[in-house]
């Protein structure tokens, strides 16, 4: 399966009469995009704002971040907001340097489960912008208002759809341009992938795509256009993941769709394929919230790795907080029991690491799971200076002045500062 990412580098974004790219500047026809998104009957007015790096601006109640992409020569839209499209092969237009930011415009109580008063934020200047990649992208912020009597879940599904539609709409502008760069992802089927490299270890990636800690949102396209809730672990080609098969399910704890589109683990396995390892597919799984399902999903994933793929080793990541950590650890343990060596990468959440007595930075303790990479701890505090402009938040309230002022935020609430998938260089060190 061969995927070509045709990347057009964008240097600036502005509103303009028609949506196009000229000399590296993306012009957005605000009205046209607005009308496209407002066609969704669940949404009222959809405001669109721009936020560029260096501007003293803060985006609040951020729900997800999506890179503009479209399938060249296809009528479908990225992430299945429209017609079904074959993913993973062919050419995909990418607007590099641009991000679509979804801001949840409901009242605070509904929009923020994190307990932070402004939800997840993105700062475009100052220390907050330095810790997140989205402080350095040209951001097109979507602010969809919910229509009256639309349920919270329907609104959240509509919000995600709006982001996916906008991603396709913007990336279409790059389809007929000569790309600045073409990235090629080409990997043969599992039956042939070992040819001529059969001395290298076969490595698979077990990717937890959804956490059932939170009630899944019906209608949110998290896996090939559908909600992944009821799935059993399954094998996909890594190109399908890179090409929009998976989006970050709300509430997206430290995983954004943008990071899945640029999946750091998949890119890393590709980079080493053929020299140090043989990249043998991706196993998708879901983190349940009870022991019976932990065991069930762990056994199915491990069996796929061992008996279907024949993997020598597996890397694992998680999504969400505590229960997903246990689900991942149980899966790694089951792999080890079947003879598939594992290494896991994780953020520290849920454990009481302040009490040195337990030496705890994981909530599990399994002798077989002994190969762990730390990707940081979300509870570091950062003081953010005041800003001139706040984008997002509930419209029904008068302008929220507290969001403009200096604020102390924990790292985990700065969207993009932490990554469950391995893109950041953070590591938590025990002192």
């Amino acid at each position: 399966m061969r995927l070509e990412l045709h990347k057009v580098k964008i240097q600036d974004v502005q509103f303009g009469d028609n949506t196009r790219i000229n000399d590296g500047v993306l012009y957005v026809n605000r009205k046209e995009l607005q009308e496209l998104l407002q066609a969704d009957k669940r949404l009222g007015k959809v405001e669109i704002e721009l936020a560029r790096p260096g501007e003293r601006c803060r985006i609040v109640q951020v729900a997800d971040v999506i890179e503009p992409r479209s399938k060249i020569g296809s009528q479908g839209s990225f992430g299945f907001a429209e017609k079904y499209t074959t993913l993973g092969e062919g050419e995909t237009s990418v607007l590099q340097g641009v991000a679509i930011i979804l801001s949840d415009c409901r009242g605070k109580g509904e929009a923020t489960i994190s307990g932070e008063s402004h939800g997840n934020i993105i700062d475009m200047a100052g220390p907050g912008s330095e810790v997140s990649p989205f402080g350095q992208t040209l951001n097109v912020v979507l602010l969809p208002q919910p229509k009256d009597r639309v349920s919270g879940m329907d609104y959240q599904a509509a919000l995600k759809m709006a982001g996916l539609r906008a991603a396709t709409y913007l990336a279409r502008a790059g389809e007929n341009l000569k790309p600045d760069e073409i990235e090629i992802y080409d990997l043969p089927p599992l039956t042939e992938v070992m040819k001529s490299i059969d001395t290298l270890p076969k490595i698979t990636y077990i990717f937890q795509i959804l956490s059932l800690q939170f009630e899944p949102i019906p209608g949110e396209p998290t896996l090939f256009g559908k909600q992944a809730e009821g799935m059993i672990p399954t094998i996909v080609h890594p190109n399908q993941v890179l090409d929009g098969a998976i989006t970050s399910a709300a509430p997206g704890l430290n995983v954004q769709t943008y990071q899945i589109q640029n999946h750091p683990m998949i890119k890393e396995l590709y980079r080493r394929h053929g020299t140090e390892l043989c990249f043998a597919g991706v196993i998708l799984t879901v983190a349940h919230n009870n022991v019976a399902d932990f065991d069930r999903m762990a056994d199915i994933s491990a069996s796929l790795a061992k008996w279907v793929i024949g993997a020598d080793g597996a890397v694992l990541t998680k999504t969400g907080g505590g229960a997903p950590e246990l689900a991942m650890a149980r899966t790694a343990q089951r792999c080890e029991q079947l003879g598939v060596k594992t290494a896991i990468a994780m953020l520290h959440m849920g454990a009481d690491f302040k009490d040195a007595k337990y030496g705890a930075s994981t909530i599990f303790s399994m002798p077989e799971v002994d190969t762990i990479v730390s990707m940081g701890v979300p509870y570091t505090e950062l003081t953010l200076p005041p800003v001139e402009k706040v984008i997002g938040g509930p419209r029904s309230q008068s302008e929220d002045l507290t969001a403009k002022g200096e604020m102390v935020q924990w790292m985990g609430s700065i969207k993009g500062s932490l990554c469950q998938l391995g893109s950041s260089r953070l590591t938590a060190v025990r002192y």
Partner: protein, 353 residues
Amino acid sequence: MKESDDMLRVIHYVNQFFGGMGGEEKAETGPQVHDGFLGPGRAIQTALGSRGEIVATIICGDNYFAENIEGASEEVIKLLTPFKPDLLIAGPAFGAGRYGIACGAVCRAAMNQMRVPAVTGMHEENPGLDLYRNEVYIIPTEASARGMNVAVPRMVNLALKLAAKEKIGRPSEEGYFPRGLLVNEISNQTGAERVVSMLLKKLRGQSFESEVPRPNYDHVIPAPRIEDIRRAKIALVTDGGLVPKGNPDEIEMRTATRFGKYTLKGVDCLRPEDYEVRHVGYDSVFVRQDPNRLVPVDVMRDLEREGAIGKLHEEFYSTTGVANIVETMRKMGEKIAEELKVNGVSGVILTST
């Protein structure tokens, strides 16, 4: 020994035994000052060399200290203040429990009250370790004084670094017990690069160091089974954050420090309009629809009527279990268990989310 301006003024703390006063029979002796070094202080002075001088040794009986830790700490601080010390070294206490506690307490007091850097040493099973390791730099030692020659140079090295306000490296580099801090640092590789490298090393049989050590959690031994469930009084306890509307006990949504107990007298079934959920770690929509899904009062009343259990305890207990401190939860658990015991409860259904 000659004093010079750049020579650190060091205080050494020892117990009655290492201070040469005697054994248990002198353990009630209060703190006193001895000029210069004494006992193990000689080894410390040798390790300090010309960088520091032990200007005084404080000696205190172990029982005297252990019986009134705060008072004794105060007395020690009063005694050492006139010496204007730059550094405090306590022990090492090896496996001696009361001595370890005294060393930890003196170090903490010196650091917190006088801003004087302090170091001690003890064996990993010394009870002073868990009491003070979060605040005090403690060097691992053997259980007995045979480990003196190894421990002292390590203690002195770390103490000199602290006095010079140098950056203190990782526990494995500097040789102290980890202190319960988890600090974000920037690696030269991404998480993805590191985890793939680590897996390849593991597969090749090469040595690698996991970035996350395995925690050593306590094992909970289950209570013996209930002899006759049909006569037993059963209580409902949850960490799912169910509280009466308005959250009267102000239970926190994460890292809770409190629990509440709420009456079930005359309650046959929990009504959704009476309760709310304070918890950020799960989606509480189904509990808010029907609180009995978390705290199953409805079925417990059925079982009560059927005679399957003796009685449902007339209060349910609730707190919030998300990102909690183990020690806080242990105390809450002890308090709840104590109250349940007093009320004749012999079994608990604990629902977690």
